[in-house]
Symmetry: C2
Subunit: 636 residues, 2 copies
């Protein structure tokens, strides 16, 4: 008997299967995890895959597939994995798109590892010098610099910190010395003998909530280790504004916050070095990104003016200062650098996002969206880029949502509601009994409630429609039962309340006002947006179709959405690994225009219109009708 083998791309994993097996089952056997919230019943449409070879070995599309897939998808070879069955022997190749993978989120959370040509700002050069003698009594600095100039480091000069070690560095290994140059001109270190093998850097993304640091081998570009901690400033305030107010109210507030983050970063540096077996003295640069407030506080720059109009940062330009001045425990005369900021609420992290996205190199118009308590958006192409910041608030992190929680064990992360029965299907993080709803879960829930007509376009729960699970809570506020008490960890029902819906409406309206404003400034319609780069952990976990469906992302075909994970960290590593990237960052930060949304006329009206699901003005969501029809087609 000729065996049928199904291979899954881009992973390369394959498995032999018997006739009658679905692609979804084959995937599970091959160890590939495909989304299927409705449990493989052909209803949720989350298990879309593309068959690139062996179509003839599969069952033809059934009515569920015909109902859920667009013509465009059908032409492209898209199938629902739960519906497509192996019928006869052959070699079948299946492409699993990002949006259908369950595992990609965890991988992406680290951030993509962009291909960057390795050319770090710090380089090591091995020199062997003619020994000092009575015939050649040049000073140590001249002896070294003459040699470097011969090697085309014409502008080489010694950092004063090097003077102290210079005589030993030259003489201890018989005039063979390794020098470390910053940007090919500033000698920041001189060591006896050949130490060219030891050259490390650390990239760090200082988020308001979380600090991540990556130890990078600057000889190979390889990430040696990753460590993260909650931002140690959290005790001074959960959000940026409360931390800024600490710097205003308390004389030593800035110093306290600075010490907290510097100590935290030093903890990360120590852990990275211990685990990686790296001497901190061999770490010659730290590249930092973060929002403008984190950036300012880290460097001890007074940030209070960020808290009030016109929110002008103190420093936009790139910074490189000696590590000792930045108080970081790496080589003291190493550098601590930061990417440039764009504006008070579009910081170095957004510049890093932009670098990692590659949007600045696109010829067609695209949009980079990094959703957080503040959401940064950059839109445009290689010709022109504009940016804005939206006060989207912490709802997507679970705050102000009745059963909101972070994306940890037991958090509902995917929701699907049967259009007819209103039956709710969901998945949780690590497949544990449900404890609450995380950001991607609540976005799914709102989208599905809308699709299942539990919500109207104004966001009101149709409490009088008599739909199952819809009711008034004890406080009289309408709510929808997402999970009944039997299935939860606590034995308590998990509900979505009218208040929760409103929080999500406010958050998504804030974001979409930014999206719409940038589209208006660029004079583009949704169809002209060739690519949406979804950055940040939330952007990675959230279901793109749901995000479009509630009116948070612009209305583009889902396959135009690229998940770029923790792009701020990726951008920081790119800048650490390549001077070209950091020079580009400086250029971009000057070039990217900044739109202050609050000072746009009609801001209030725009915001109010964006409160609708997806929007008051359906011109922004030309595919809304089509999507709704497609979704319901199979059910009528």
């Amino acid at each position: 008997m000729v065996e049928t083998v199904v291979q899954f791309q881009p992973f390369g994993m394959k498995t032999p299967v018997a006739a009658g097996t679905t692609i979804l089952e084959a995937a599970s056997k091959a160890g590939v995890s495909i989304e299927a919230i409705c449990g493989g019943s052909g209803k949720c449409g989350k298990c879309r895959v593309t068959v690139t070879a062996g179509t003839s070995s599969l069952s033809p599309r059934d009515k569920d597939e015909k109902a859920l897939l667009s013509d465009r998808e059908m032409k492209a070879g898209t199938r629902l994995a739960c519906r497509a069955k192996v019928l006869r022997a052959g070699r079948i190749v299946v492409e699993v798109p990002e949006g259908s993978r369950r595992e990609h989120h965890r991988l992406l959370a680290k951030g993509i590892e962009p291909r960057t040509k390795l050319s770090p700002a710090i380089s090591k050069v091995l020199v062997t010098l003619p020994p000092a003698s009575m015939k050649d009594f040049r000073a140590d600095d001249d002896r070294l610099l003459d040699e470097l100039r011969k090697r085309a480091r014409k502008k080489a000069a010694l950092d004063p910190g090097v003077h102290t070690h210079l005589p030993r560095a030259l003489r201890d290994k018989g005039w063979t010395t390794t020098v470390s140059l910053f940007r090919d001109c500033e000698v920041i270190k001189a060591e006896p003998g050949d130490t060219t093998d030891n050259l490390y850097g650390i990239a760090t993304d200082i988020g308001t909530t979380k600090v991540v640091a990556y130890l990078v081998d600057l000889k190979t570009g390889e990430v040696v280790g990753t460590q993260s901690i909650p931002n140690p400033q959290i005790p001074y305030g959960e959000d940026l504004m409360s931390r800024l107010s600490v710097t205003m109210r308390q004389e030593d507030g800035l110093e306290k916050l600075r010490t907290a983050i510097v100590d935290g970063l030093n903890t990360l540096i120590e852990r990275l070095c211990v685990k990686g077996g790296v001497d901190p003295d061999d770490v010659l640069e730290v590249m930092m990104v973060g929002n403008t407030a984190m950036h300012h506080i880290f460097f001890g720059i007074p940030p209070q003016h960020l808290a009030s109009a016109p929110y002008a940062p103190v420093v936009r330009t790139s910074i490189s200062i000696p590590a000792s001045q930045a108080r970081l425990d790496i080589y003291p005369f190493g550098k601590v650098s930061a990417l440039p900021n764009i504006a008070g609420f579009v910081g170095a992290d957004a510049v890093a996002d932009l670098l990692a996205s590659g949007l600045h190199g696109d010829r067609k118009v695209g949009m980079m969206i990094d959703i957080g308590t503040n959401t940064e958006i950059v839109a445009g192409n290689s010709e022109r880029l504009i940016s804005c910041s939206c006060a989207s608030g912490p709802a997507f992190e679970g705050a102000h949502i009745r059963f909101g929680m972070r994306a940890s064990t037991g958090a509902i992360e995917r929701v699907w509601i049967d259009r007819d029965t209103r039956e709710v299907m969901y998945t949780t993080v690590e497949d544990r009994p449900a404890r609450g709803i995380c950001g991607s879960g609540i976005v799914d829930a709102v989208s599905e409630m809308l699709n299942a007509r539990i919500l109207d376009s104004s966001g009101k729960i149709a409490v009088d429609g008599g739909a199952p699970g819809v009711r008034r809570g004890k406080d009289g506020v309408p709510e929808f039962v997402l999970v009944n008490a039997r299935e939860t960890e606590t034995g308590e029902e998990i509900v979505v309340t009218q208040h929760d819906i409103q929080e999500i409406q406010l958050a998504k309206a804030a974001i979409f006002t930014g999206v719409a404003t940038l589209m208006r400034k660029l004079k583009v319609r949704p169809s002209a947006i060739d690519r949406v780069y979804a950055a940040g952990a939330f952007g990675t976990y959230v279901d793109a179709e749901s995000a479009i469906n509630i009116g948070m992302y612009p209305d583009v075909p889902v396959d135009r959405i690229r998940f770029i994970g923790n792009a701020a960290g990726s951008g920081a590593r790119m800048a650490l690994k390549s001077v070209k990237e950091r020079d580009l960052a400086e250029e971009l930060s000057r070039k990217v225009g900044y739109i202050e949304l609050a000072s746009e006329k009609d801001f209030q009206q725009e915001f109010a219109k964006a409160m609708f699901l997806p929007h008051r003005d359906l011109g922004y969501f030309p595919n809304r009708g089509k999507r709704a029809r497609t979704r319901h087609a199979g059910r009528t």
Copy 2:
């Protein structure tokens, strides 16, 4: 009756005098102090002046003048002030050359104040910026830098130290701000309002023995105050070598010596600021010069390799580091700069000497000699300059001389011995009873003993010649009684011993070996040396004719010798006041060749020949015979 008025130049002081008054008496009346060791008896020839107007009102030259003055001097109008008498009414103008002034030493000790076009490295710029608004939300740094770029500071960038103060500096006086720029590109300070009036710098010469600091108003170039202290490293060793050995023997030796000098300098800075009513925060630069060892220790650079061949310095190039890193208590982000070094024993102080001398601009060949424990010599012209260092030792500071002492109260500073009677005449510092002999006194004594044939050219005291005052001491060593017991403060005779003579021979031989080597390298004879710049306190106090006579200075006409006082301090002030001068210094330090005397072949023989008075090879002293004849002519 028509009065006779005598005017003295270059002072401009004048006095009416009666007929019969000598110019020496007139000078005293006018408050001009002219040397006259022999008490106005026409014998010592120290009171040479040049009459530039009214010659016909004076007595003709008598036989003493004819005996002591050369034909060249007589043609030039030179007279002995003690011999020239006013005979008839008229206006007489008398030029008092430096060598004949008693007071010039004290004035010169401060150093000449060279005319330097004021263009300090630090400049202040007053800017008024457009206020931040919702229409102009540029970052503070961009706002400031855009304005500076408009004003032709294209390369302006902010020192990271400025970030901390920037928001306050811009906003506290309504967007009117004063920025301080280092070298027109690095913004090191930003202050609210107009503070352009407050801009100070400090120049300091860190000598092995003495540290002098000058507070300079960088708006006017004016020296606001001068302070000095003994070098606080002296407890660790009187001379350089013993201090260098402290840095080698003791683990924390360098740190101890560094702390000593840094603390000492901070004391000077505090005194200067308190006395001058200047806020130390308004002192934006310290310009330091010193020998290479002092330079290295001050900056914490390991200096031990200066102690052994090939004596290579660690750092030749100019340095500018933040004041906080140099640990000086001025504005923390101000600069502490140092002029470049040339070699292990030709340091930034010699470069400063050179700057102050102007030798580097001369078309004819000249020589700059700065005598100290180490004597630095630079010779050449605008085309070519070479330098060397001579281990001349501390004899000129009174060390190893039986009655040697520093040039303080009661020190014999001038000596004249009657060729016939061997009668000794002398002057002391502040005209107090003699306590000992300082450097200039001992050089005079040796020269006069030679002229009076108490010494032969090998330096032996002619103890068997039966000359008055010559005898064997208790230890059998020949000695000459300079001052009898009645005249001294202690009631004890002051003598010059054979050992003393030998010390001076060693010292002057060390110096002249350098002088001769540089002359040989430049292929010049003494007659080709157009100018000798005598720098340093000793060089200023020593009698040029005596110095030539014993074979320490090259044999040039005395009027070719320029006293430039503490030229190292002057050069430091020049570099503080003008970037051109400091750029020139860097250029010179690269350009000036360095001759390591000890590695010259025939060094030992050259040294041995230079032990003679003036030299074994009288080709170096072509005027020796003439001088001896002139000196004795009047006496025979």
